[in-house]
């Protein structure tokens, strides 16, 4: 064991959707604190499922899942939700935004739902913080717009801004760059890395885009660690 506790520690995790086939069977998986990990694997190999287990959204797995030093299984359902809300930033693969809220409202929603996450802004007013993040991602012009009027790439940047605001300890991104052009992908990763470094956050990044993988501390192929589906 290293000196600091790992950000993520999975031991003998098995998971299946309902009575379906086993999707995950991971003897061991570990992400150190402040590490930036690039996870890849073919479509359907269980990447999103793995993230769901780690985020405490999918229940019914066996084995041990420790996130930021906490055993997820020991938390009650609502504790798990609160934990996720205040310590995790999650960026979806697709369709990230609440359609009936404005861009600004979407970005600030996690901080409005969780007082703890909001406290991490360290006194910066919510809107001001949101504006700063949005500016870095080049979407500050869009803040008052309806999210349904944005391009897919713009939507992904809004989702990124949302997950970065209030810099959570662990940022989980499920193919966040799939719809971004080269320039924005660069800017996005730059900001992502910068924010993680500034806040000491851990980053788990799922992508098909192997051209990005050299930017990360560590690269992992899911089929290599997952015995199921192999």
């Amino acid at each position: 064991m290293s000196g600091t506790a790992p950000a993520i520690q999975l031991t003998d995790v098995r998971f299946a959707y309902g009575k379906g086939p086993t999707v995950l069977d991971i003897p061991s998986f570990r992400v150190e604190a402040k590490e930036r990990v690039f996870l890849f694997g073919p479509s359907g190999s269980g990447k999103t499922t793995l993230l769901g287990v780690m985020a405490g959204v999918l229940a019914g797995y066996s084995g041990g899942v420790e996130v930021l030093g906490r055993d997820i299984a020991k938390l009650s359902g609502s504790q798990r939700d609160a934990f996720r809300g205040s310590h995790l930033g999650y960026i979806f693969q697709l369709f990230n935004l609440i359609p009936y809220l404005s861009v600004m409202e979407n970005i600030t929603l996690p901080c409005r739902l969780s007082a703890e996450r909001r406290a991490r802004l360290k006194g910066v007013p919510l809107e001001q913080g949101a504006h700063a993040v949005a500016q870095r991602l080049g979407i500050d012009e869009l803040l008052t717009k309806r999210v349904t009027n944005l391009s897919v790439g713009q939507q992904q940047r809004v989702a990124a801004a949302r997950s970065l605001l209030g810099t959570p300890e662990l940022i989980i991104a499920d193919e966040p760059t799939s719809s971004l052009d080269y320039d924005h992908r660069e800017k996005f990763l730059e900001l992502l890395f910068e924010s993680c470094a500034a806040a000491g956050s851990t980053l788990l990044f799922v992508s098909h885009d192997r051209s990005l993988m050299h930017l990360f501390d560590r690269q992992l192929s899911l089929p290599d660690i997952n015995r199921a589906g192999a």
């Binding site: 499922t49 959204v57 939700d81 609160a82 996720r84 809300g85 999650y90 979806f92 996450r117």
Partner: protein, 423 residues
């Protein structure tokens, strides 16, 4: 509050279904409150068919019967009371005024009421309304008649017309055998519509009733040639022997009860006195089951409205799976997801209640005069009654409870979907 703003925005986003749901709940609320108001109005109007009359007095018999023939002109008296007796009570020191009624004749199905000027002076309905004339004036001569507005309208009579009244009240309208043909009456005036049974009668002086029967013996018409010609009869020459009943106003409340007791124990003649309000209530209770049926129907309408809301919320859940997954991912727990949907359904039902009350108000203001004029139904315009508030509260609570069904379903969705956002 974040959830409230979320619920609000989400409802606003689905503006058409939201509007339709609110509208359907609003309509059912309006119906419920409207029916309640009409019911209160009907009860009030019914209880005020006759007002300011403390006692109705007649020969001893059924109290309901006395009320029916004296106020509603339904049925007939089995016995009359003598005019002497009437005068005794009329001049009683505790009595403010009396209105005598002499019943028993009719005209083409409408009752003829013998009365005197006290009727035009003192009779009150709907609290404080008195008898007024649309045209003409009250009958002064023995053979003059004032028409209730329905009578004039149905039969097309106007001031100056001559009419013949029929002996008896059987439906033998205008059959002719027992018409008081030799003594026609002249229409002196037509009463303003009251929307009470007053409209369905003809009013002649007490002397008129005596006059048409002056030459009768033992309830049989005179033999041909023995008739007393009408020209010979004046108010002074006819003697009033008896009347059917009379309305009485006492000088004070306490007098009313004392008078009632005194009248029913009157030694000269078997009599009874009833308090119209009480007997009207009794009557209302016996016919009031119709209003319960109405209430039951409106309750079903409410249930249908609420079910409509349930269906619209429930079907919207499929389109909202993604939204729920996102909310869940950014830290909204089951409690918040459930609260959000319950809140939405609560907001919908509250909005429905507000719309319903507003609708009732607008409709009442618009139609109150028309309804009052045509049906004699005074529907009060007022904030919801205590029953109304109970209904509103019940609907809001029902909306809250119903919200748990889609909320539970939404929560189950978020559990099974995980973070793979379903389309």
């Amino acid at each position: 509050m974040v959830l409230l703003s979320l619920a609000y925005h989400s409802l606003k986003n689905r503006v058409l279904t939201t509007a339709l749901t609110v509208f359907s709940i609003g309509l059912s609320i309006a119906l419920l409150i409207g029916v309640e108001n009409v019911r209160v109005g009907a009860r009030e109007s019914f209880a005020n068919t006759i007002s300011q009359t403390d006692l109705i007095v007649g020969a001893r018999g059924g109290s309901l019967q006395l009320l029916l023939y004296s106020v509603f002109r339904i049925g007939a008296a089995t016995n009359n009371i003598t005019y002497q007796t009437y005068e005794h009570w009329k001049n009683h020191p505790a009595v403010a005024w009396t209105i005598p009624y002499s019943l028993g004749d009719s005209h083409r199905g409408f009752r003829v009421v013998g009365t005197d000027e006290n009727f035009y002076k003192h009779y009150r309905f709907r609290r404080d309304r008195s008898i007024t004339f649309d045209s003409g004036r009250l009958p002064q001569d023995v053979f003059e008649v004032a028409l209730g507005s329905d009578v004039a309208k149905t039969l097309g009579y106007k001031t100056g017309d001559k009419i013949v009244i029929t002996h008896g009240v059987a439906a033998a309208a205008g059959r002719g055998i027992l018409d008081h043909k030799d003594k026609p009456f002249t229409v002196s005036g037509v009463l303003t519509k009251t929307a009470t049974p007053v409209d369905r009668s003809l009013y002649i002086p007490l002397e008129g009733i005596s006059a048409v029967h002056i030459d009768w013996t033992d309830g049989a018409p005179p033999m041909p040639g023995e008739e007393v010609p009408a020209e010979k009869i004046t108010k002074q020459t006819v003697k009033i022997d008896q009347i059917t009943s009379f309305l009485l106003r006492s000088k004070s409340r306490i007098d009313t009860l004392r008078l009632q007791r005194e009248i029913s124990t009157y030694a000269e003649e078997p009599m009874q006195a009833i308090i119209p309000g009480l007997t009207l209530q009794e009557l209302w209770r016996t016919i009031g089951y119709a209003e319960d049926a109405l209430t039951v129907v409106t309750f079903f309408v409410i249930i249908v409205g609420l079910l409509g809301m349930l269906v619209s919320l429930y079907t919207s859940l499929n389109e909202r799976r993604r939204e729920m997954a996102i909310l869940r991912a950014i830290g909204a727990g089951p409690f918040k997801i459930i609260s959000l949907l319950v809140l939405e359904s609560f907001l919908l039902s509250i909005a429905g209640c507000v719309l319903g009350v507003a609708l009732v108000y607008v409709l009442s203001v618009t139609f109150q005069p028309i309804v009052e004029q045509h049906f004699g139904l005074y529907v009060p315009i007022q904030p919801p009654t205590s029953t109304g508030w109970i209904y509103l509260g019940a609907v809001a609570v029902a909306g809250l409870i119903i919200g748990f069904i889609p909320a539970w379903k939404a929560y189950r969705n978020t559990l099974s979907d995980g973070l793979s956002v379903r389309l």
